[in-house]
């Protein structure tokens, strides 16, 4: 009985201590950080904060732990709580947000683990009217790893780092709604200013589909890009998405620059099993040089994986970064758009190594997509007199490298 009583006291004490710690964490600043006494929180200014979306969605499932660990949610929750604590009106927003705000804060996080801690580094810029940089810097906060609750460790690190940034903003800018009226929109900022230009979140391939300079690619290459750079030879262009389909994994972007060469689709999109094809892409960037990489193979099958739709199988080797590239016949007609490959990892566990099992969206569906979205394109009948050089040249002359930035 005495043991049970001691246990109850221990439990109650731990409960109270934990509750106090939670309340304390939400309302106090990290050690060594102070806010001037004359500043009352929250300060009266509206704020929109941009964080690259791939960080906000980050999560993983360690099999040993058996539950999801969600750094992205930790980042969202902690930053949201801190913004609310420091500013009268604040929100996390995407690069296309059109609501006017007084301050626009762009945050680029970086997670590290070191000596039993999870550390978050925030690089940040604060923008005001006419895209003027009012403040920029870098703040770091480390929180101890809690093996029982890794998401909480991520939350604590993000909470501390967010508080450090917010404290610096209010201390150095002393913002209020008169000084920084709500006239600035994230959507009006040049996307090149807010993205991390040193580290594209994805790279892929596209190809000109018409003389207007519109480029076809796989939709997943452009997923959540705040800025997509199109590069052909030494020329680079910005772009905007004209049409996109998650279901087909297909998209068209507009470079705004006319193209002298573009790929026609094979009329009626008839596929011949075994016919030779060329695939061109910009794989494994930046490990491989940024010059187009051409591989050759055959149409292996009219079908793809069980349950897939609108795809065929081809054998020309592809790598990460080849997505969105054209699969071109020897006659120089577009047969398909590279979308995926058979993943080797799960099959290796069963003792099988898949070789050159790659998938492309059939150009028949690309044509339907283009018609549906009123995008110009050309169709030509199958050219039986084509040869390898003609097909290769048609593919090489029209491909572009795509880099997605957030």
């Amino acid at each position: 009985m005495r043991g049970l009583k001691v246990g109850s006291v221990v439990t109650a004490t731990l409960l109270v201590v934990t509750l106090l710690k939670v309340a304390h964490a939400a309302n106090t600043l990290p050690p060594g950080v102070t806010i001037p006494k004359d500043l009352k929180l929250p300060v009266d200014v509206s704020v929109a904060a941009y964080v690259p979306s791939h960080f906000r969605k980050e999560r993983f499932f360690p099999r040993d732990l058996g539950y999801w660990v969600e750094p992205g949610k930790a980042l969202d929750d902690s930053l949201g709580a801190v913004l609310k604590q420091f500013f009268t009106k604040a929100k996390l927003a995407g690069s296309d947000d059109s609501e006017p705000n007084g301050l626009l804060i762009v945050l680029h996080p970086k997670w590290d683990t070191e000596a039993g801690t999870i550390r978050l580094t925030f690089k940040y810029q604060v923008y005001g009217e006419k895209a003027a940089v009012l403040l920029e810097g870098e703040r770091v906060f480390a929180a101890p790893v809690k093996a029982m609750n890794l998401s909480k460790s991520f939350y604590n690190a993000a909470l501390g780092a967010s508080q450090l940034v917010a404290a610096e903003v209010v201390t150095k800018l002393r913002p209020d709604s008169a000084k920084y009226p709500a006239v600035n929109k994230l959507v009006d900022l040049d996307p090149k200013l807010i993205v991390d230009r040193e580290h594209p979140v994805a790279t892929g391939t596209g190809f000109f589909i018409n003389a207007a300079g519109q480029v076809m690619t796989a939709a997943h290459v452009l997923h959540d890009c705040a800025y997509t750079e199109v590069k052909r030879d030494e020329q680079t262009f910005g772009s905007r998405v004209v049409a996109s389909s998650l279901l087909l994994d297909l998209a068209v972007i507009d470079t705004g620059t006319p193209a002298t060469k573009f790929l026609p689709l094979r009329k009626d999109a008839e596929l011949f099993i075994g016919e030779p094809v060329a695939n061109v892409g910009f794989p494994l960037q930046p490990i491989l040089a940024a010059s187009p990489n051409l591989t050759r193979g055959n149409v292996s099958s009219r079908g793809a994986l069980t349950g897939s739709k609108g795809q065929f199988q081809f054998s020309a080797p592809i790598q990460p970064g080849s997505s969105g590239g054209p699969v071109v016949s020897d006659g120089g007609e577009l047969l398909g758009v590279t979308v995926s490959t058979l993943s080797a990892a799960p099959l290796l566990e069963q003792g099988a190594l898949p070789q050159n099992v790659n998938f492309a969206l059939d150009a028949k569906y690309a044509a339907m997509f283009l018609r549906k979205n009123s995008i110009a394109f050309t169709e030509v009948p199958a050219n039986p007199k084509g040869d390898m050089r003609l097909g290769n040249e048609a593919a090489l002359a029209t491909v572009v490298r795509l880099s997605c930035y957030q």
Partner: protein
């Protein structure tokens, strides 16, 4: 009476005709896979659900997570000490929020998400064979109940209706 029954039947048919029926969907679940899968597949909207469609562009992913509560953390620690001290004779009592998340992905991109959360206290005996996937009896029953909530919300989701419509445009009506 006959007239009334016919009116009810017509209303039902009109409702069925207007409901979204999804094309084939691949199922991917982290917990209670058989139980949740069977319940989902019984609904006409998810009649095309399958565990075998490895290449399907549309995937329903059902995952679970536990969110620790402040009180649960303290009592769980004390309970673990007690359980350890008795070499597992006493069960570990935990209290946290169970979250069941339903996500519809299209070619790997999340199209829509629904999450359901409830607090549970569970007594876990480390020597016992757990047939509830670590959810506890009440947790498993509640998790099964989330299927009804999810299906009701999914039926009204315009993103899923658009997806079904786009699928039909490109590939025709699903045969399931």
């Amino acid at each position: 009476m006959k007239f009334r029954a016919a009116a009810i039947a017509l209303a039902f048919l009109a409702n069925v005709a207007g409901a979204t029926v999804l094309p084939p969907v691949a199922y991917n679940g982290s917990v209670a896979g058989d139980e949740l899968y069977t319940l989902l597949k019984a609904d006409p909207m998810f009649a095309g659900l399958s565990k075998d469609l490895v290449g399907c562009p549309i995937v329903l992913r059902v995952t679970h997570s536990f969110v620790m509560t402040a009180g649960g953390k303290a009592s769980g620690l004390a309970s673990a000490i007690w359980s350890g001290g008795t070499l597992g004779l006493l069960p570990v009592v935990t209290n946290n929020d169970l979250v069941i998340t339903y996500e519809v992905l299209v070619n790997g991109t999340v199209l829509t998400t629904y999450a359901y959360q409830r607090n549970f206290t569970r007594a876990v005996n480390i020597w016992a064979n757990d047939t509830t996937y670590g959810l506890g009896k009440d947790g498993l029953e509640w998790a099964k109940g989330t299927v009804t909530q999810f299906v009701a919300q999914a039926a009204k989701d315009p993103k899923l209706a658009d997806l079904a419509s786009e699928y039909q445009f490109y590939f025709g009506a699903p045969s399931n």
